[in-house]
């Protein structure tokens, strides 16, 4: 079997006999640590980081101010009205939860499938998941109207002997999103402990030594610890895999369990899960492309990694396209008057502009990734990922708004228009997301350093023991 030199610079070849190198231009572990931690250890981050943080922080402050305005005035500041009681907050909730799916997919499902390229992107995809779920959780929280009763969502014993309604999908959502957030946070933190220990051991100031010392819990790299750690990581991956599929399924139950035409449909759970992974990968790509340029991480997040992500976007985008088609087919095939109307109304009714934005961004755009040229062009990838983000937001808009605005009785129809508060609150949630993300890339290990080292060919303890040669990554048994 042929082997490739370790320091190849183009790893996008399609030769199934040769395992592609995942780390370029690095032949020793020390230089991997140095390059990745340069992001955190440089005395000053680039100017663009300050600029981005200033913008994000302003947007986040605006979000805070708007939430304050909402609390003092009431939900009337939003465009939510009588048929369309859900409006922007629920659209945004579903959008952000969807974004949050890629992180755990990359860390759990790709881990179980032994997709070793995940090591370069899992850390910040997990971080992205956590921040996206924080944004998502904000919206239903402020949407309840009387926010001072938001704790009624949780089964807390109280003097009224009142308990939540456990047969309601809305309550399932509380548990699903709550569990998802907790498990993602644990997964993220557990994965980060060895890298935090690396940062502790390299820290130059007392403050850093103490801070990283505390969060790394005294990790010393003991192989007896690694043994349990690896087992725990595998178990978490096995637990998170059904979890990640369940979360958006439960979100889709919010719709599918209702009676509304356009919502009451059994295709919703798989269709929502595929859409969530689709949008999550698009967001990972949107963040990874500038991050690898700015922080010099091109040797780790290589073109092959981006190409793999393009392929997943193409695959999930096609599932989403199939689901759109199937919804129409079933609407016609069922012979249900209301169901057929709901879909014709989506495509040709008052919100058809949103519908066609959705189709062109989600179904047509990713088809460009059939071409290798597109999968290897940063400009095309970045543009496509942005369009997918836009398209997926419109998908939720179409689902939530059109079904509510035009349901069974024309006399109870009503159009929905967002208010300025709606639009700025949505914009502000990006500020919240980006502020957390920018702080993360400055203060925490942005790539999974220990995992990257472990997939390098040099990590193989039997370089001549296997017949697949020295420059290949060892297979797990």
């Amino acid at each position: 079997m042929t082997t490739l030199p370790i320091n190849e610079t183009d790893n996008t070849h399609e030769n199934p006999h040769v395992r592609a190198t995942l780390v370029l231009n690095h032949s020793d572990f020390g230089s991997v640590t140095n390059t990745i931690l340069k992001v955190n250890e440089s005395s000053r981050p680039p100017k663009s980081w300050y600029l981005a943080l200033a913008i994000s922080f302003s947007l986040m402050s605006m979000l805070g101010a708007l939430i304050g305005y909402l609390f003092f005035t009431g939900v009337g500041v939003w465009g939510n009205n009588n048929p369309v009681a859900w409006g922007y907050p629920i659209v945004n909730f579903v959008f952000w939860v969807g974004i949050g799916h890629a992180g755990t997919l990359i860390s759990a499902i790709l881990f179980l499938f032994r997709q070793k390229w995940r090591t370069a992107i899992n850390r910040f995809a997990e971080a992205m998941t956590i921040f996206a779920v924080i944004c998502a959780g904000t919206f239903p929280g402020i949407h309840v109207g009387r926010v001072w009763f938001a704790y009624w969502l949780f089964p807390i014993p109280n003097q009224m002997d009142l308990w939540p309604q456990f047969r309601s999908p809305l309550l399932w959502d509380v548990f699903a999103v709550g569990t998802y957030f907790t498990v993602s946070l644990l997964f993220w933190y557990l994965g980060m402990i060895p890298d935090l220990a690396t940062m502790r051991d390299r820290a130059t100031t007392r403050v850093k030594q103490i801070a990283y010392g505390i969060v790394s819990l005294g990790w010393r790299g003991s192989m007896r610890h690694w043994h349990r750690y690896e087992r725990a990581y595998l178990l978490l991956a096995a637990l998170a895999t059904p979890l990640v599929l369940s979360v958006h399924s439960v979100v889709s139950f919010d719709f599918a369990v209702s009676q509304l035409p356009g919502w009451h449909s059994t295709i919703f759970p798989p269709y929502f899960v595929a859409g969530a992974i689709f949008s999550g990968f698009a967001m990972v790509m949107t963040l990874a492309i500038p991050a690898r340029e700015l922080w010099g991480l091109k040797d780790f997040i290589t073109m092959r990694h981006l190409e793999n992500m393009c392929k997943i976007i193409l695959f999930t985008g096609s599932i989403v396209g199939y689901a759109y088609t199937m919804e129409f087919f079933i609407a016609w095939y069922s012979g249900e008057l209301y169901e057929s109307f709901a879909f014709i109304n989506r495509a040709f009714g008052p919100y058809s502009w949103a519908y066609w934005i959705m189709v062109s961004c989600n179904v047509i755009t990713p088809q460009i990734f059939w071409f290798k040229k597109a999968r290897n062009s940063i400009v095309i990838m970045f543009t496509a990922s942005l369009l997918v983000n836009v398209g997926m937001w419109f998908e939720r808009f179409v689902i939530v708004i059109t079904s509510l605005a035009n349901d069974f009785l024309p006399s109870s129809w009503g159009m929905y228009e967002p208010s300025w508060v709606d639009i700025l609150t949505f914009l502000g949630s990006f500020g919240l997301f980006m502020t957390f993300f920018l702080l993360f890339i400055r203060f925490l290990p942005v790539l999974a350093i220990a995992e990257i080292k472990a997939v390098m060919p040099q990590a193989n303890p039997h370089p001549h023991g296997h017949d697949d040669g020295p420059s290949t990554v060892e297979e797990d048994e």
Binding site: F29, G30, T33, P155, D161, W163, Q165, F166, R167, W172, F175, A176, G178, T179, T182, V183, L186, F187, Y189, L190, P194, A197, T198, R200, D201, R202, I214, L217, G218, W219, R220, G221, S222, M223, R224, H225, W226, H227, R228, Y229, R231, A232, L235, L236, L239, A240, P242, L243, S246, V250, F253, A450, E451, A454, Q458, A459, N460, P461, H462, D476
Partner: protein, 196 residues
């Protein structure tokens, strides 16, 4: 390589560490240390070296069993919580009336088993995941902010690019000169003395 000068008093000696610069080095060293019958030894490595735990003779952790019971507890907790709060109605010895908050939704049954599945599933996963993470911390005795191997400045590279094999002084077979000779026979880059 020659031996290390002894600077640490016998009662203060934690152990001796051998330094290696690559994974095959630490792997063979671990195999030989295990074969030589040492029990209290450890490898400090920047990443999980594949198969090193088996080479050291580390027994399979009991963590999966803990996680199973964690998940099972979550499942039971979720079932009890939902049944008690939404559907239960009986008196304990006809004295204490126990009534859940029964929502009548379109006359659907209070004990709607299918409707209880999602939360039962989520709580199973939640409890199992919490057990996996905190169980690992517990079994690994973390957090532990003081440890002799964290004290020696050279061993800081164990989280970067170096591999260390440490034989502890509390090993029944430990004898400073023998262990030093044994470690030197493994062909390490250096041998380091660790103070408690």
């Amino acid at each position: 390589m020659t031996g290390v000068t002894s600077n640490v008093a016998r009662e203060d000696l934690y152990g001796l560490a051998a330094e290696f610069s690559d994974t095959p080095g630490i792997f063979h060293a671990a195999e030989q240390t295990h074969a030589a019958g040492y029990k209290w030894f450890d490898c400090l490595v920047p990443f999980a070296v594949h198969g090193l735990d088996r080479a050291m003779g580390v027994k399979m952790t009991i963590l999966p069993i803990l996680v199973f019971f964690g998940g099972f507890t979550g499942l039971l907790a979720a079932c009890v919580l939902q049944v008690f709060t939404n559907s239960l109605q009986f008196d304990i010895w006809a004295v204490v009336p126990l009534v859940g908050y029964q929502f009548d939704v379109s006359g659907k049954p209070f004990l709607g088993a299918a409707a209880f599945v999602p939360i039962a599933f989520e709580m199973t996963v939640l409890f199992a995941a919490l057990t996996a993470v905190f169980g690992t911390f517990f079994l690994n005795k973390l957090p532990m902010f003081y440890h002799p191997v964290l004290k020696h400045p050279a061993l800081a590279r164990a989280t970067d690019d170096r591999f260390y094999l440490v034989i502890e002084a509390k090993d029944p077979k430990f004898n400073r000169d023998d262990v030093e000779a044994f470690l030197l026979s493994l062909n390490p880059d250096s041998v380091i003395e660790l103070e408690k």
